[in-house]
């Protein structure tokens, strides 16, 4: 067993965790667990590599596409007005899907529905650029996921996924991110895992990536099988995490190690 796995097992034995709701005063962004240099990259848009994706997103917003030959701007006009607040309340319930969908799926729904174009592939440059551009319009706004009767069962599914042990290492998200945040794992501090800045530029990826990409990394980390991109299980977990982070300001596009 590798050294890292031994450390993880030791954490498991030392702490049991239940996925309890963290009070707002206790919630800390991942930005607080990184170095001053990495924080500086995030604060300054001219130094943030994600800005390169924002520029692409800006172009895509006005580009006509599909059989309907319309652009996002055709219906939504100026993104800084029409998209303000949108990312802060996603994942959101979609009546035609009869379940919550995330921002990437919402953009693809417009793509196939309103534009009558092919949907973007998950994690494609175009989808990341457009999602980052849309989400950036909510930068600084508090995350607003309200638990109502419709969303409750999906949030609960996400909570169960967060609290459930899984993978060959038989660990739950909660064991690290509720019970052991702030402690070190392999020399790096464990953050609370609030998705306050997605899509974000991860130094490890040397690219912008989505929350689902990050979640699939975590699952690989505990040697669990990751559901495919867009799977309901992943969206439920995204929803739970955003609900768990409610009230925290959106930082998109963030930078993380």
């Amino acid at each position: 067993m590798s050294a890292r796995a031994l450390v993880l097992v030791a954490l498991v034995l030392a702490q049991q965790a239940g996925g309890a709701d963290m009070p707002l005063e206790q919630r800390r962004s991942g930005a607080e667990f990184m170095s001053a240099e990495t924080r500086a990259m995030q604060e300054d848009e001219a130094a943030n590599p994600a800005t390169l994706w924002l520029l692409d997103g800006e172009s895509l917003w006005v580009r006509k596409a599909g059989r309907a030959d319309v652009s996002c701007a055709t219906c939504h006009g100026d993104a800084s007005k029409s998209m303000r607040g949108v990312a802060a309340r996603y994942p959101a319930y979609d009546t035609s899907a009869a379940r919550p969908i995330d921002l990437e799926q919402r953009i693809n729904a417009c793509r196939t529905g309103a534009q009558q174009a092919e949907p973007f592939a998950f994690e494609s440059r175009d989808l990341l650029a457009l999602t980052t551009y849309v989400a950036r319009q909510s930068r600084g706004m508090p995350i607003t996921i309200r638990e109502n009767a419709t969303l409750a069962p999906f949030i609960e599914r996400g909570r169960m996924a967060f609290s459930r042990r899984q993978g060959q290492l038989n660990m739950s998200c909660a064991q690290c991110h509720d019970a052991n945040w702030g402690r070190k794992l392999g020399g790096n501090p464990i953050p609370q895992a609030h998705p306050t800045g997605y899509p974000l530029y991860r130094l490890e990826w040397q690219s912008v990536g989505s929350l689902q990409r990050r979640l699939r990394n975590c699952l690989a980390g505990v040697r669990a099988e990751a559901p495919p991109y867009g799977a309901p299980d992943l969206v439920d977990l995204e929803l739970y995490l955003m609900w768990r982070a409610r009230g925290m300001p959106l930082e998109t596009p963030a930078v993380r190690p």
């Binding site: 001219a46 130094a47 590599p49 800005t51 390169l52 520029l55 040397q206 690219s207």
Partner: protein, 106 residues
């Protein structure tokens, strides 16, 4: 399409030493990584950066694989006169990207 972000102070005084920050989108593939099948991923990097100020070279740099992806590079110059700053990045696989930015000196 290659994107770049250049930061130049908006109204420097004549004679002021100003900082010019450059950020360019490029994977800077080192040539030392392997794919899932163990095959080496070929090197693909920017190798040279040049900045001219109204045609005169004010900074040149050789980049190596140790430069991070989406390179950020900052240098200084004396604001001598108004005009154009031109930035050129060249590299492997005939990569070439140029961007011009005006400079307004008071």
């Amino acid at each position: 399409m290659t994107r770049a972000v250049i930061t130049v102070p908006p109204h420097p005084r004549r004679g002021q030493v100003i900082e010019i920050r450059t950020l360019v989108g490029h994977p800077m593939e080192t040539g030392y990584r392997h794919d899932n099948f163990g095959r080496p991923i070929p090197r693909n990097i920017i190798t040279r950066f040049v900045c001219t100020y109204n045609g005169a070279e004010i900074c040149r740099a050789d980049f190596f694989p140790a430069i991070s992806a989406n390179p950020l590079f900052t240098f200084t110059t004396v604001a001598t006169e108004s005009g154009t700053l031109e930035f050129t990045w060249t590299g492997d696989n005939d990569f070439a990207h140029t961007m011009s930015v005006p400079i307004a000196v008071e």
